[in-house]
């Protein structure tokens, strides 16, 4: 059988999956946990606690601030120290809730046992019930974009969902958190997928995994056959050829079911697919079956010069410094600290930034690895055009942004760019293509929004 992948563009970077075989460790509790109020796409959450309040693990500390928003739960027990500002993953000071950790006392409603709960044992679950539990538990997309999950599960009336695709691609170099999660919690993930399919009222599911994770493909194929044989659901594990950015929603839909998502504002559900990260499936399982809100996640802490890179089950709000210390401390010399992997990650200037709902990795690159080379003139080799997974012309968009020709940028579909960075990665002249395009994209989107507001 031909191994599937998406149809245009893409690159293959060195994998560097240093922590592939490192079993997940439970990270130590921090002394102080920091919860940014904006950990998701949409309106920031609104604090419902005050200075001095006692909280337990799983206590609601901030409620959703709008329809597109998500509540935030404490991951620690202790006292609210203050509601202040601190540097978060955007690099700016943003409102946060800071909690001083005392002990580890959990809310009683959370089921802490390891027992696998199945849908068959819970006849009370209806699609509406699942969506409402997911919403109340503050579950957002765990792949990094952090879009509230309940919204994805309730598609607009104009679109009809036909299948759920689990994104277990993990195409970013270095990161192994999703792989470890699959190896260690395959059963839970499959129940999570079943819940997602039930909530979306579909019977078909796919799990897309790149072929560099044969162990996960084998394990999940076996488990799927055991679990879904003879059931109302059909689930297929789809091995995918290694290619970045396969983990992008649109690329994954293309790779798995060969359908192309049209230009924005179209979303995958317009072609019948609901894409959820494998971490999200696990979070959905815990939220629905264990009444456990989203307050911990799997995160990879990695880097070639780290003494002991590893995978961690970490409470949100833990400063990155704690995790780096657990891996042997920050290597000497100049380093580049990234929240996320080397392709999509965001460079940070502080190690005190907390782990949030979307922090799938903390990557530390040495100066030599991270240092950009001096840009040279574009030789029109069109390598960037060849690798663009969205079929754009990056050299042109970058130039148009540079000369501030926003009208032409819009005509050339700059808003379709998914900011994967393949163009910049492949450019033999080391041109800052994505820097320019990102700037142009945000400007053009601003223009489009203000135009729509005028109408």
């Amino acid at each position: 059988m031909k191994i599937r992948t998406f149809s245009i563009g893409g690159i293959h970077a060195d994998e560097n999956k240093l922590t592939h075989d490192v079993a997940t460790k439970v990270a130590a509790l921090p002394k102080q946990a920091i919860f940014p109020l904006s950990q998701h796409i949409g309106a920031p959450a609104k604090p419902v606690v005050q200075k001095g309040d006692k909280v337990k693990v799983g206590t609601l500390i901030a409620e959703a601030g709008g329809f597109v928003s998500a509540p935030i739960f404490s991951s620690v027990s202790g006292t609210v120290f203050k509601i202040d500002t601190a540097i978060d993953a955007t690099g700016y000071r943003k409102p946060v809730i800071i909690i001083n950790v005392e002990g580890d006392e959990w809310e009683e409603s959370i089921d802490r046992s390891d027992k696998l709960e199945t849908i068959e044992a819970h006849p009370e679950l209806t699609p509406e019930e699942i969506v409402s539990r997911v919403k109340d538990a503050g579950v957002v997309g765990m792949g990094g974009a952090c879009f509230p999950t309940f919204i994805k599960l309730t598609p607009p009336p104009t679109a009809k969902a036909e299948c759920v695709i689990i994104n277990a691609v993990e195409c970013e170099p270095y990161i192994t958190a999703d792989f470890r999660l699959m190896m260690e919690h395959a059963d839970e993930i499959l129940v999570g997928l079943e819940l997602l399919m039930m909530a979306a009222k579909v019977t078909t599911g796919y799990i897309g995994i790149e072929t560099n994770k044969p162990a996960a493909i084998e394990l999940l194929t076996k488990k799927c056959a055991e679990k879904f044989n003879g059931s109302a659901y059909t689930v297929e594990v789809v091995p995918l050829k290694q290619r970045y950015p396969q983990g992008g929603e649109k690329q994954l839909v293309d790779a798995v079911i060969h359908r192309q998502v049209p230009a924005p504002p179209a979303i995958p559900v317009n072609v019948g697919a609901i894409v959820q990260n494998v971490g999200t499936a696990f979070a959905v399982y815990e939220a629905v079956m264990k009444h456990k809100p989203l307050f911990e996640r799997y995160t990879t802490v990695t880097g070639k010069r780290l003494e002991n890179p590893g995978n961690f089950l970490v409470r949100m709000g833990t400063p990155m410094q704690d995790l780096i210390d657990a891996c042997g401390g920050m290597p000497e010399g100049d380093n580049k600290l990234l929240a996320g992997g080397p392709m999509m990650g965001k460079a940070l200037t502080s190690t005190e930034v907390p782990i949030c709902k979307g922090t799938n990795s903390v990557t530390i690159l040495s100066d030599d690895e991270a240092r950009r080379k001096e840009p040279e003139p574009c030789i029109r080799c069109a390598k960037c055009v060849l690798v663009c997974p969205m079929g754009l012309e990056p050299y042109l968009l970058a130039k148009l942004s540079e000369v501030k020709n926003w009208e032409r940028c819009e005509r050339e579909d700059i808003v379709n760019c998914i900011e994967c960075g393949s163009c910049q990665f492949t450019c033999p002249a080391y041109r800052p293509l994505l820097d320019n395009i990102r700037l142009g994209k945000s400007t053009v989107m601003g223009i489009i929004r203000s135009r729509a507001a005028k109408k």
Binding site: D84, T85, I87, T90, G91, Y92, R93, D334, K346, A347, L348, T349, A370, R371, R372, P432, D435, N436, R438, L439, S442
Partner: protein
């Protein structure tokens, strides 16, 4: 011979017919343009800088004449030409004009290399706009000048330049026409158009940091920490502290400089005053200051 004659007659006839058609068309489809628009346009400086808010001087002339017909040209002003040009335009249109005082671009950041510690290195595209998207920049201040010179690029009058020693742009008051292009280009809204003031004297808060005291203090040696001392000191109620940041209202400020003396962080700057004691870090315009303007 005959051929030449025929050619001349035919071409002459064609020319005549075409002339009649063109004449008729120009009468029939004539568009009336107020002759004053051209006159006003001639008075405007022709810089087409867009500082007035219109696409160019032509647009401004059009708006001025339309405004005059509607009874008022208030709110329209040419930053380049200033009072002189607006006065002659007002004379031409027979309008009274409440002329705004001349303004100048003011860079409200004093976070020079020695005041603000560099905590990181930015290696991406060297424009302020791109750097602003990536986070706070190379220092811990998320509000201050990034120093890549988007304002310099935007200025059509060669009036703003980044001082390589401080990393902060400086405005040439002689050349600045207060068109506001630099203020628009700055992604952090650091540049403000402020009243030029009598003899160019101004007092302003040279900081836009809205962080709380400790954070602002840590980020920069001359940041406003919102302590409110200046607000209490000001006898004219010109200073307000909002979101941990003081602002001096140029309309109310009487240039007494009391606030400057009480500011514990030296974030308040007074320029172009005759200087009994030199204040090196407050110096935005060393050339102008030397002139004894008394």
């Amino acid at each position: 011979m005959n051929f030449i004659l025929i050619a001349v007659i035919v071409l002459g006839a064609i020319g005549l017919i075409a002339a009649i058609v063109l004449f008729a068309a120009s009468k029939k489809f004539a568009v009336y343009e107020d002759p004053r628009i051209a006159q006003v346009n001639a008075l405007l400086p022709g810089a087409n800088c867009g500082g007035c808010g219109f696409a160019g001087c032509g647009g401004m002339a059009d708006a001025l004449v339309k405004g005059a017909d509607a009874g008022s040209i208030e709110g329209l002003s040419c930053p380049v030409g200033g009072a002189d040009v607006m006065g002659s335009v007002a004379d031409l249109l027979g309008m009274a004009i409440a002329n705004g005082e001349p303004k100048v671009a003011v860079v409200r950041c004093n976070g020079t290399c020695e005041h603000r510690q560099k905590i990181a290195e930015y290696a991406g595209l060297r424009t302020c706009a791109a750097m602003n998207v990536c986070g706070a920049g190379e220092t811990a201040c998320g509000f201050g000048c990034l120093g890549c010179g988007d304002c310099v690029e935007a200025c059509q009058f060669d009036a703003i330049h980044v001082n390589p020693e401080t990393g902060i742009p400086e405005v040439d008051e002689e050349k600045c026409v207060a068109c506001g292009a630099c203020a628009k280009a700055c992604p952090r809204n650091i540049i403000e158009l402020r009243k030029k003031g009598p003899k160019g004297r101004r007092v302003y808060v040279s900081c836009v940091n809205k962080d709380k005291g400790p954070a602002a203090m840590k980020a920069c040696a001359v940041s406003c920490i919102g302590c409110g001392k200046c607000e209490k000191e000001c006898p004219f109620g010109a200073i307000t502290v909002e979101a941990n940041l003081a602002y001096i209202d140029p309309e109310k400020c009487r240039l007494c400089r009391k606030c400057e003396k009480v500011c514990p962080k030296h974030a308040i700057v007074a320029v172009n005053f005759p200087a009994p004691k030199p204040k090196p870090e407050a110096d935005e315009q060393p050339e102008a200051r030397k002139e004894e303007n008394v």
